[in-house]
Symmetry: C3
Subunit: 209 residues, 3 copies
């Protein structure tokens, strides 16, 4: 198994685990848990593949991913209660998943010869929209869009770093790990010191400036 595949596997498992935790918080049953795990793990990459006409979809081509995520949902269902602390330990694999999926999305865009800006957008979609879909299904305004520590921003910045390194003729063999490390570090730093983008005041409703 190549390093790339190992990281992709970590990304899928981390996404699946996030989905399981989200579903349990909403008191779902095994169907809900598996569905949300699939959505978080596969949602972003599915949008990228649909947008770029890449078939078979990555989770249909690598069909063991779906088995692993389903197994994860079944096995965790045997644990009667997941301690609150579990989520804290997710931030590292989650950041790895963000980095990995963002890079994979940006590279897929380049392969399909989109403009760099579109490739960066696809990187962000691949890296973050699994969680967005899961949030929408759980009837929450996606946390990605709210006033929260940088997430999509790390993905977007990382994509441009990758394009910059490529422009400097640095081979992907080095450019990709550097980008990955950058996204993971930026995300963990943002989490640790609670770095956020400014929030808008609503355009109406509120009154004082």
């Amino acid at each position: 198994m190549s390093t790339y595949q190992l990281i992709e596997l970590i990304a899928v498992i981390s996404g699946g685990t996030y989905g399981v935790l989200l579903a349990r918080r909403h008191e779902m049953d095994l169907v809900g848990v598996s569905s949300l795990a699939f959505m978080v793990a596969f949602g972003g990459g599915t949008l990228r593949d649909l947008f770029l006409d890449r078939y078979p979809l990555f989770w249909i081509r690598h069909d063991h991913y779906a088995v692993i995520v389903f197994g994860l949902a079944v096995v965790t269902s045997l644990i009667p209660k997941i301690p609150d602390a579990a989520e804290k330990y997710l931030s590292v694999p989650d950041a790895l998943g963000l980095g990995m999926f963002s890079v994979a999305g940006a590279l897929a865009g380049q392969e399909s010869e989109t403009s760099l800006f579109i490739a960066a957008v696809l990187g962000v979609v691949t890296g973050t929209f699994g969680g967005v879909i899961a949030d929408v299904v759980c009837n929450r305004v996606p946390s990605l869009f709210r006033h929260a520590p940088l997430y999509a921003t790390c993905s977007f910045a990382g994509c441009w770093l990758l394009f910059g390194l490529q422009w400097l003729q640095i081979p992907d063999l080095y450019a990709i790990p550097v980008t990955l490390a950058f996204i993971v570090t930026m995300r963990l730093v943002a989490l640790r010191w609670n770095i956020r983008l400014p929030q808008y005041s609503p355009s109406d409703e509120s009154s004082s400036e």
Copy 2:
């Protein structure tokens, strides 16, 4: 008209009717009623076709389906008030629709040479995600994911029954009706005796074990 087409038609009409009832409960107008009817009737199959790169989409190929569902929305709009009892009589056509769409999804997966597990997932998506999409649009956590009588589980079990019968060399001519009957019966039994999957306690929030 073949038996297959008759059952598919029943599935589409049953889905459309479910959408109409859902939209009226949310006090929508004819646009909302038609849109929800389309979403329930065509949502799951559309996802399957998009995931598998099957074009034209089934409701574009069989273009009378859309006319029928729209006609259903218009005709029911002339009925000022639909009695509560109407929904009760929907459980049989709804179970038929579940069975029919599940089988169609699983067969489509096999045609595209996915793994059996992926084909079963596609069966469940085709059979159930029309309702999921409609629930999400109506701003409800999908009933599919909640603690409710078995639904997706019937579809998933039915797909594996179908694969088992095929593995035993039983021709589809017999295997498909048996699977259909199995899914419909399992669904109606689950409804009648309120059989559910266990529900998870939330991972945080609650305290006592």
Copy 3:
């Protein structure tokens, strides 16, 4: 730049602006603002392109659209407070966008040789579903489906007007502007005099007739 491209650009900008306003009302940050602007501007056309297997998607082919919408999100983010009145001035470009996207959707359906009814449905989806997706993501039942001034209805009627003009052998050079003018006028009239479709009483819950 042709007239067609000018109107499409207006449609994209108007959609993006609507998304920005919606996001700010929900107190999102720049990520949320850009994402919603993309969804409103590109959502309907993306569904149309996916449904019809048209690649590259229109916002990947015309890649400056995404840059313009992102620029719009960034520039408006420098404005600390958008006055309530801004939204009022949106109704004309929004109606233009509705007309333009509806016509583009219907023509795309015809190009793919769908039935006229399906082409009209695609016109409505292209014209209106960007807003539907944004509403769903913001956790609101789509305003399109509620008891509100005619919107999808203008799109649907306009598509049939276009088909009627074509049936009368009127060349698209005239038929398209007439249809556009019809949709825009019908929408503004519906807004001005608050013309709506009748709303359904719920099928259950309420009691008196």
